[in-house]
Each structure stands twice: as C-alpha cells, then as structure tokens.
Amino acid sequence: MSKHTSGDAYRNNRVGPILRAGEVAQAAIQAVEDDNPGKKIHVEDRTAYIRIECEDECILTRASMEEALGRPFQMREIEINLGSFSGQIDTSEERVRFYLAKHI
C-alpha cells in the first residue's frame, strides 16, 4: 500500500479557529487578517467548515469582528460557530488567542 509519510503531519505550527461556514466565518477571515498583520493566513474551505490558520499564534478580536460584520459582536458569540480550533486557546471578552507553547 502507500508510503507512510502521513505520520509526520503533526510537524506543523498552524493555529487558529475552525468555523462553521457562514457569515461569521467570512467575517473572521477578514478579522484574522486585520488582527495578525504581516502573517500569512491560510484559509481552507471544506464546505461545512472553514479553517483559518497562521503560524504559532493567531489573534481574533471583538473589535475586528465588529468591523468585519458591521454590527455589534460579543466575543462569546464566536462559540456558536467555533466547531474546533488548532493549537491551544485562551479566551477573554475582547479577544480569543490561539497559540502553541513551543514551535517545532
């Protein structure tokens, strides 16, 4: 059968939200771009969910979400669409931070 190289797939440093497809996910793509200047943002659209990731640390702020959505947004509302995330998480009322403690 195929060569077994997939076992190394964990050797990555991608972190970020994985959101159910929709308005909030689209806004989050814009917000993550704004909140992580200078970083390359990887967006993977899998129809039902969208991965939005960058290297080592990914910030998503309430202010940027409001800007992108054009309406008030409470940070807790992200949970309605946050199906999963890569890396570790740290939440507060003004921003969510996805991060890895160590770079590999």
Partner: protein, 498 residues
C-alpha cells in the same frame, strides 16, 4: 444598572473548595470517584480553564445554537430531502444516530462525575456546562431522526441500538462504558474530554459535516457541526488537568491513559466513520478520504496539541499510521459481509468508478482488498448471493469487540493476537489491543464478546436466526445491500426480471 464584566468576578465565584465540617474531605471526594492521585488540593486549584464561560453567557449562546439547528431542520423538513437522498447516505445517518445518540447520555454522566467529584473548582464549573451540553446532544440527536421513523424501522435504531446486544452497539458500549461510566473524574477529563473530544469527535462531527454539506444534507451538517461547537468548549477541561498531572510527576500515567483511549477511539472510528466516509457517502460528495481526514484532524491537529502540552507520540505510532491504510477497509468488508447483523443497509461502495477512487486514495487497494471484492462481485453476477452472506463466525477482538482484520489479497497479514489470562484464552486484533487489555486485566477480563456468547450457548438457536434474535434485529431492520447490488452491474431486481 451596569453589568460587571465576567473577568472581574469569574475567579472569585469559581473559588468553591470550601473546608468541609460535616464529613472528612476523603468522604466528600472519594478517591475512586475523584482520582486525585495524591495530588494536593492546592495543586488542583491551579486548574485554569482556557475556554471560560459564565452561566448567563452559556444560556444565551446555547439558545442561539439550538434556534439555529432547529430552524434549519424546520425550514428543510418539507423539502423531504431524505426521500431523494442516496441510500448510502441514509445508511450513514442511521449508523451515526444509533451509535451515538443515546451514548450522549453516558457522556452526560461522565461530565456529571467531574462536576461533582473533580478536585478542581474550575473543572467542576466547566463540567456542569459539559453535562448540559451532552444532554442537548442526546435530545437533539433523538429528535432529528424521529421524523423519519415513518419511513423505515431502521430509523428507530437511533433510540433502540444502545439498548440491544447488536454487535456494533455492543462494541461501542464497551468502549463508552470504559471511558465514561467507569473512570474517576481525572481519567474522564483526560480520556473523554481531551483524547476523545479534542481529537476524534472532530472526525465524525466536522469531517462528516463536510460530506453532508456536499451531499446537500444541510440539516445534518448544521446539526452535527453545532454539536461540535459544544465539544470544542468542554473538551478544554482535559488540557489543564494534563498540565497538573505533568507538573506533579504523573506524566507517565497521563500518557498511558491517552495511549489506551487513543487506540480504542481509533478502532471504533475505523468501523463507524471509515466505511461512512470512504464507501457509503456517494462518490461525488466525498470531500476527502477517511485517511485524509485522519491526517487533518488527528495527526495534524490533535497530535500537535498533545505534543504542545508535553506528551509524547503513543508508543505504537508507526503501527497506527500503517493501519490508516488497512483497518477501516477490513472493517467495511466485515460489516458489509455480515450485513444482516447491522441496523443499517451497508453500501458496498465498490462500483468501477468508486474502485478507481479507492485506488487513487489508497494505492494498492485493488490488489489487496479489491481482490476480495472481485470474488464477491463475481458471485453476485453468477446469481450466487448466498455465497456473499455469512454462514460462519468472525474472530472478534476481546478488547475492541470488533472483527480481527488485516490486509487481504497480496498483502495478507491477518493475525489473531492471543493471550491466556487466568486460564481463559483471549483474542485480539492487534498488538495494541492486547497491550490495552494487559494494562488493566481486572477491568476487562470478565467481558464476553458476541462470539464468546455464541460459543457459550448464550445465543440460541446457534445459527444466524438465533443471532439476529439475540441482537433484537427484526424483519425490516436487518441490513441488506444499500443499492440492491446495482454497483455489481446486476441488481437483484434485474435478475428477477430476466
């Protein structure tokens, strides 16, 4: 009246490790339930949940989640999507609901154990929400399929499966009982919330949602992805518990718990999620292969998180990676062959076009598993359906309670890993299954798998009819080929007409 920001009171209201005066602490938090492992209360108080939520926020958020999922269902109900859906997709839904809906209540029990017995106040707080989450998952996944019970009795298995001795239900229950009903609060945090929910449930609730959306089943895609938003929050109880265990010299114990449950989860998903993603879902709607989803969610994401928290790869990593090309293909063939013994109609998924896809995703498939399907196809084409139906018993693993499988054809490597323990001969599907058993023989030794029960005379009469009776599979519930053999280029109906 201005509302206090939750960050201003969160830590204070969470401080609930009071000093008991009516009973000693050892009675308030018995070790068998709490599993503090000698780590002092002060250490548990350092538990700081990374994903914080207050009760008022919880209620507001959950209400919106439910409003979303139920309104999608209500809006699409009249479109009768199910009536035009591919039979393979119907089987996907029936297998999913039967294996998981009622088991959500077991998860609620496990969360309740942490809510009551965890030594960490933050854990108790989060687990209270986790318990409510799991009750939501049980209720919503029983309600959604209920409208379909008028279509066939197989839909009733959403509720029925876990209350029967059907073999797949038995295997799932053995695993869920091990992880949810029979572990202390700390083990639940590690095995259920961390390993199972941060890792594997993503496969079934987001990976499958991707295929559901492609298949146009927006009700199901919305439902299961909504469920996973609860999981992604309450799964975060495991991380802080892991950190406390590691900081207090219990890394090896934590690692062992992960290694056991990672393998058990892998085996369960190889029989449930593997066939669904690679064989039942109509070809044109497959977003990725099962292996690709495993690489995305389990290796790329979950294993990376494990690594970040200071744990190692499971000792059997190479064997796990190797089995990504093997186990679920074997499980699928077993389920299809023993199809009368499941509550859904397995889709063979091996039409010429599907075989091309399998060969592309799993190079070598045609010369291994494909060769078994060659024989099955030939038998069907010769009108010998009888040769494609079970007359004998499989060997069932005494750990995962699933058939012992391996690669077929040119890559033949099927092996029964045995162990004699207290005079009883046990069979295992792999070295790792046997290792899991050996970590805690007292926990597992008394269990009889379905073949053990057959051979001991518990199942009567000792034939397929007796087995179906034992499994509570009645006419109209017994699985048949989902597409009536159309994939083999013949179909029973065509033959009858000839």
């Amino acid at each position: 009246m201005s509302k206090l920001a939750s960050s201003e009171y969160y830590d204070l209201v969470r401080t609930t490790n009071w000093t008991p005066s009516y009973v000693p602490e050892s009675e308030l938090f018995p070790e068998a339930m709490s599993g503090a492992r000698g780590i002092p209360a002060e250490a548990w108080e350092t538990f700081d949940e990374p994903y914080k939520v207050t009760y008022s926020d919880y209620v507001a958020t959950q209400r919106e989640k439910d409003a979303g999922a139920y309104s999608v269902k209500a809006a699409l109900e009249r479109a009768n999507y199910i009536d035009s859906a591919d039979p393979g997709w119907i089987s996907t839904l029936q297998a999913h609901y039967g294996a998981l809906a009622v088991a959500e209540y077991a998860a609620a029990t496990a969360e309740a154990r942490m809510a009551r017995f965890s030594r960490a106040p933050g854990n108790r707080n989060m687990a209270t929400f986790g318990m409510l989450d799991e009750m939501r998952h049980g209720q919503i996944q029983l309600f959604f399929p209920h409208e379909h019970t008028k279509r066939s009795r197989q839909w009733d298995w959403a509720h029925k499966a876990m209350h029967t001795n059907e073999w797949a239900a038995l295997a799932a229950r053995h695993m869920f009982d091990d992880m949810m009903f029979t572990r202390d609060a700390v083990s639940v945090a590690i095995m259920l919330t961390f390993a199972f929910e941060t890792g594997f449930t993503n496969m079934q609730f987001l990976g499958l949602a991707a295929d559901a959306a492609e298949a146009g089943d927006h009700t199901f895609a919305s439902l299961i992805s909504s469920i996973q938003t609860d999981e992604s929050r309450h799964a975060q109880q495991g991380g802080p518990v892991l950190k406390i265990l590691i900081a207090n010299g219990k890394k090896d114990e934590a690692q062992k718990m992960i290694d056991i449950i990672f393998w058990r989860a892998w085996k369960l998903f190889s029989v449930l999620t593997g066939p669904i993603l690679d064989y039942y879902t109509p070809l044109e709607h497959r977003k990725q292969s099962f292996k690709e989803f495993m690489e995305e969610w389990i290796i790329g994401q979950f294993e990376r998180q494990l690594n970040d928290l200071g744990l190692d790869l499971p000792w059997y990593w190479d064997e796990f990676v190797r089995s990504l090309d093997e186990t679920h293909h074997g499980m699928h063939m077993g389920v299809w062959f023993w199809r009368p013994t499941v509550w859904w109609n397995p889709a063979a998924g091996v039409s010429p076009e599907e075989r091309d896809w399998l060969e592309e995703k799993y190079p070598g498939w045609n010369s291994t598993f494909g060769r078994c399907w060659d024989v099955v196809t030939e038998n069907l084409q010769k009108g010998r359906e009888d040769l494609t139906l079970p007359e004998t018993l499989p060997t069932i693993c005494n750990m995962c309670n699933l058939p012992v499988v391996g690669t077929a054809g040119d890559g033949w490597n099927v092996k029964d890993y045995q162990l004699v323990h207290n005079g009883r001969l046990y069979h295992f599907g792999s070295e790792v299954d046997r290792w899991c058993f050996q970590q805690d023989p007292e926990r597992y030794q008394g269990h009889m798998n379905v073949v053990d029960r057959f051979l001991s005379g518990e199942i009567q009469p000792q034939n397929l009819a007796g087995a179906l009776l034992y499994m509570s599979l009645n006419p109209g519930e017994i699985g048949v080929d989902a597409h009536d053999y159309a994939w083999a280029g013949i179909g029973k109906k065509n033959q009858a007409a000839e």
